[in-house]
Amino acid sequence: MKIIHCADLHLDSKMTSNLTKEKARERKAELLNTFDRMLRYAVRNQVEAVIIAGDLFDTKRISASARNAVRDGILNHPDIQFFYLRGNHDAESFLCSLDEIPDNLKLFGETWTTYSLADGRITVTGAELNRENAGSIWNDLTLDRDRFNLVVLHGQASENEPADGAEYINMRKLMNRGIDYLALGHIHTYRLEQLDGRGKYCYPGCLEGRGFDECGRHGFVLLDIDPGTGHFRQEFVEAACRTLYTLPVDVSGCKTTFDISEKIRDGLDRAAISHDSLLKLVLTGEVDVECEKNMEYLVKKFEPEYYFLKISDETSLMVDYSAFALDESLKGEFIRIVEGDDDLDPQQKVEVIRCGLRMLAGEDPD
């Protein structure tokens, strides 16, 4: 039996933190398309169940298009069982908007709920965690070890007793409980690890990366379970239509925008990133305080090559105070005075010096 395990779809995510309104709208649509693509994959591969381990939606306020896309996705695939465990981002709004809960949509509550598949040889058990039940729910979990037990939860896997239980899953409490596959959600990157001698736990990550904190491959996990033997095979299936990358570029020693541009070009050539990707260039290294950096120019130069590009300047400024020690000029005098002022911390000093020098050079301050 084939089962899809996905989580953290965050449909209807605003996407506006990096993108323009138009692109954010486009990405929102792409999120829905990816969900739809996953369902089509399920149909093509005779998948019988889809487990959504939380955060199907990003916000309480679900748009009509997202609501309809999910509802129609469920209703149009009556042969697929949808096990939807709500996460911290999900709210009642989706279920409220449904006139009737479809027969193939299985929900979970605050206590353990178990559904059977493959004539009872596979069980899907899940509970929605909150502050009230997070501490006490673990002992209530009873599983038949003769069956293939799939447990669904949404939260941060933790080895220790969490301080704030709501979003933490006490992994110790789940060990040796007969779990074969712990389908988790909450972490947005794919992670598969051994739970105990019998089972594994897995975060499939989100379907689509939304921000540069979700770089890399994204998709879902396809489980192929043999209900007879209880053996299973899991496979990560890449589903995202775009990938986000963060590419650090060391621009140490660069004096001008041109120097930096050359370094960036070099870095991009080596990374060979697809042009439909979202890319964040991070300029690192130490540059001279008088280094001429035109970030706007750099963005304009490289932006057309990718679906989205942003450049983050994380370079540190370097001031060679000794070079100005004997400089009989206003600049020298200025740097010496700033350097000698103990009211400023080193970072402030650098910032003030850069500001002054840029002004003297006829440029606007950063």
Partner: protein, 902 residues
Amino acid sequence: MRLLSCYIENFGKLKDLSVTFEDGCNVICRENGWGKSTLAAFIKVMLYGFEEEKARDDLKNERKRYRPWQGGVYGGRLEFEAAGERYVLTRTFGMKEKEDSFSLRKKETNLECRDFSRAVGEELFFLDCASFCRTVFLSQNDCETVSTDAINARIGNLTDATDDINNYENVNQRFAGLLNQMNPNRKTGSLYKCREEIVRLEEEVRVGRSADQAMEKLYESIQQKRAEQDALKEEQALLAEKQQKIAAYKDIQVKREAYKSLCQEYQEREEQAKARRACFPAKVPEKERLEEAIACSVRLSAAKEKVQIYEMSEEEIRRENDLEKLFREEWPDPETCDLQAQHLREMQELRVLMAGNRLSDEERERLDEGRNRFAQGVPELSEFERVISEWNECVERRNVLPQKKLTCETLQQISRAGAAGEGNRTGRGAGRTVFGMLFLAAGLALLVCGVWMAGSGKTMAPAAAAGLIALIAGAALLFLRRGRTGGREVSRSPEPADNDGLEQMKRQIAQDEAFIEQAESGTEKFLERYGMVWERKSEILDRLYDLKAAVREYITLSDQEKASAQGQQEERYRELAEEVKAFLNKYFPEEETDESAFGPELARIREAAGEYAVLKKKRNDLARAREAYRELAGSLEAFLAELSIEPEPDLQAHLLRIRSHLQSYENSMQELLAAKERKEAFETAENMAEILQEEPAETMQPLQEITGRLEEIAGRLEQLCEYMADDNRHLDELRAESDQTAETAERLSALRESYEAGLKKYERIKITREYLERAKISLTARYTEPIRKGLVKYYAFLTGEDAGRILVDANVGVTVDELGMQRDPRFFSAGYRDMIGVCLRMALVDAMYREEKPFVVFDDPFANLDDSRLAGALNLLRQAGREYQILYFTCHDSRTPQPDFT
């Protein structure tokens, strides 16, 4: 660096002016309006170009101000020496800068060189124009000076660094501009505006949050409704299940009732069958046999009836005995009787015939008379018909003939009149009219007569034809008359048709006369032949009919006479009488029978024979009927005995009743069987255990109550659906509102970040500006002392006094310590300000140019000095002239150094 000479082609009012400059102080003392300031300006323009070129004010716009008054080439030449090299600078000026020309040649080679560009002044003096005018170039009434970046840079030997002290003022202004633009406390400041926008958005978000709260409430409301919906659905399902059970039980109940009914029916049928079986004590008769018995009983009844019918009365018995006696010899069968009766009828006929053929005397007399009349032969009756017909037609024609003749005569007259011509037309016309009218009247009369005659059985044709002709003639006459009197000649001569008619009429008249004559003659001869006489012709027809009657009578009488003459009838009559008599004597021997009694006797015998035959037959029939009855009765009695049923008197009725009982019994048995089959079929088809079980308690609740509740639930569910749909619609609206708020919140967040960053930037700029100002002060403070020393030196040259109370700050600002307070020189007199200004300028020039000294232009700077200070001023010139080439312009001898001075 020094000026060697200059040549002005045209510049302002100056034209074609050559001036040679020497080392030391070059005094150019000329009267007012000569062009001293213009010459000084020429030197400045040759080095720096024009200032204020875009100013509209001609006085400020130097290109316009110094445009040659008398026309000609605008410009000139300047020879100078710098770093030991002599150069010839030639410049001409057009209306615009691009029309200017620039040429720099080395004096020695007269070759163009690029040692200096068009900005030759800045390159020579390391000063911009403004700084040049603040230091080296003392224009008239502008002795005061301040330090500029270029001055500072020159003093600090920083003229090569483009982004240093020489740019300080610019940077400072940009700082001020930026801070002003960003100022968080001024309404025009971007940070202030940003904060305002933040406040506005905060308010917008705060208001927008109400949508979130409303959404939360709505979610709760929907959840409550959904919970209610779920509960109702659960109840609905339970009730539906219960309803199903009740319905199912109702079905069972119905089945149970049906089963009970079947059982009851079976029982009833069984009892009925038993009851009906009781009608047959021994056994149930076979239907066929019963039917036979019934048929037998029917026959028995018939036999009984027959017996009753054939039963003979005493009278009949007595009569039978009598008749037996009468016919003891022979019983005459009906044929014999009929034969005798026929004989009698024949006798009667013969008797009538014999009596009818005998002629009376009168008949014989008439027969004889007829023989005489028709001695020549009896005419045939057909001949009579022909003669009568001819006579009738003769009478008719004779009657009509006079009229025809009259008509003919009239027509002849008309014809003649027509032939006579036109004259006397009026009179003739009138005559014609009269005739026409007459003809019409006559024709009408004839026609009526003809019709009447036809009605009375007479031939009408001649009269009617004559009448018609008369009518036509009359009409023709009238027509002719009308034609003429109408003024138009219709016809001038008689019509040929008129002539034809006339001729025809004449022919008819002739024919009629011939026919009448022939018919009268023929008829008269016919009557005369048989002796018939008449007095008038009108009697002839009667005589014809009389003759016809006489013929008929004669023929009848002749036939009677012939029949009477034969004797065979009487013989036959006697034979017949004998035979009949013999027959009658056989039965009535003792009686002498007269012929007249033959009929009644024969009738008696015949009647008696018939009666005897009937009685005999009745006797026989009775015997047979009795036998048959006995047989049938015995058979039926045996049948009933077999059934152990006592026969009733009316056996047929009894048997029919038995048949009815049997039928009822059979029906009962069939019904019983059918009831049994139905019961068994039901038992086979249905779950009898379920049907026979006790009613479960849960089905006790009335179905109506459940249905009512289900309807109530369905209604409420529908209502909840509608409410939820409404809530969802409202939710969508709120969601849109909330999205808007979220966007606003995002904008707010971004704006806050931007504001924070801006504020930091603002603070950083502010701090940077402060640090930069401190740096500038610190830097300039280093050469304040040399400047102050220079000031003291030149002040001493000028006043012979110590300049101790004149203070110079780091910004080369000058204050005068007066009455214990540093005072701005602006508070002092113009002459004093000029003195300080000149001294400060020279001090700055000293500080700036420590190696190669430049020339210095003094455009009458001492005009404001009083006489007591003038000597000092000239002393200053003298002293300065030792170090610098000085171009001193003045208009007054008093301000001119003595000859020994130069």
